[in-house]
């Protein structure tokens, strides 16, 4: 069930997205510096390469490492709406790795983060409150 109550949060000005050219309501705040973006890019490209020779279950580990690093880079500059999500969900990713050998617990923990990120997206994209 979608929690529409979170739509009550007032939004920033809309802007065009690069992907579909559609108007979204995500804040226009810059949260990533060029240096940080390049660092993340290095992590992603090298992860893609080493994954060719590593066990398949390392794939999620690399993506989560990138998630953690991205979160650490943006958390201070992110809006309140994103920050809560980052602090409650991404900060706890290192504990999740410990559960990697327990497939079901790992999937459950990933599902929990997926629900949380969906809720975060909704908070960002709900239309502004009627005046």
């Amino acid at each position: 069930m979608i929690d529409w109550a979170i739509c009550a949060v007032k939004q920033a000005e809309p802007h065009e997205t690069v992907s579909g050219g559609q108007s979204t309501l995500m804040s226009e705040n810059w949260v990533l510096k060029e240096e940080e973006a390049v660092e993340l890019l290095a992590l992603l490209i090298t992860s893609a390469r080493i994954q060719m020779e590593e066990p398949a279950h390392y794939g999620p580990l690399r993506l989560l490492t990138a998630t953690e690093r991205l979160s650490a880079m943006i958390v201070e500059r992110a809006s309140e709406k994103s920050r809560a999500f980052l602090q409650e969900n991404v900060d706890r990713i290192p504990d999740m790795h410990m559960a990697m050998s327990d497939g079901e617990a790992y999937i459950a923990a990933l599902d929990e983060r997926c629900r949380a990120v969906a809720a975060c997206l909704l908070r960002h994209s709900c239309p502004p409150e009627e005046e």
Binding site: E39, A42, L43, I45, T46, S47, R49, I50, E54, Y58, R62, T65, P94, D95, H97, M98, A99, M100, S101, D102
Partner: protein, 178 residues
């Protein structure tokens, strides 16, 4: 008593993935490198070469191209294979002794670090091509494994839980298979 200390050292060594930035003394680094010199080597060829990296900027760059390097270690020792030595002795490049040599050197360094009260961890999840560029490695050197050395940070360890509890008995067969 001595043998007990050695066995305890082997049993209590664990990979450390969170380290402080406290530097490691030069004599301790040298003691670890000297220990590696005494590791067994196939044919006593000693094809491994060690590169010690302490410079903060270089360590940072290496970590950026090493997704499996979780620690920010003050010292990195890169174990390389020197292919000139391999060719000189007509060893086929596919000879598995070359990989085993990396393993004996790595374990010897990890145990030496443990004996010195230092934290350590091996890393093979990095881009070889990127590391070659960052360190400007000669063409005859291939980067095989990093040994991260430092002091353990007092935070909860990130790491992999064992897939299942195993004892040495689970890993051992005696005599012949029936």
């Amino acid at each position: 008593m001595m043998s007990e200390a050695v066995l305890n050292n082997i049993k209590t060594r664990r990979v450390v993935r969170a380290m402080t930035d406290e530097p490691v003394a030069r004599e301790q680094i040298e003691a670890i490198l000297e220990a590696a010199r005494w590791a067994p080597s196939g044919g006593n060829l000693r094809p491994n070469r060690y590169i010690v990296i302490q410079d903060a900027a270089t360590r940072r760059l290496i970590r950026l191209v090493s997704p499996g390097m979780f620690q920010q270690a003050p010292v990195l020792i890169l174990i390389c294979t020197n292919w000139d030595v391999v060719a000189e002795h007509n060893v086929p490049p596919t000879d598995r002794a070359l990989l085993i040599d990396i393993g004996t050197a790595a374990q010897t360094m990890l145990l030496a670090a443990q004996a010195l009260g230092l934290a350590s961890g091996p890393v093979t999840s990095y881009s070889k091509e990127a590391v070659k560029i960052i360190l400007n490695l000669p063409a005859s050197y291939s980067p095989e494994m990093f040994i991260c050395i430092g002091h353990k940070a007092e935070i909860v360890q990130t790491g992999m839980r064992a897939w299942k509890k195993i004892s040495w008995r689970d890993l051992t067969h005696w005599e012949r298979f029936k």
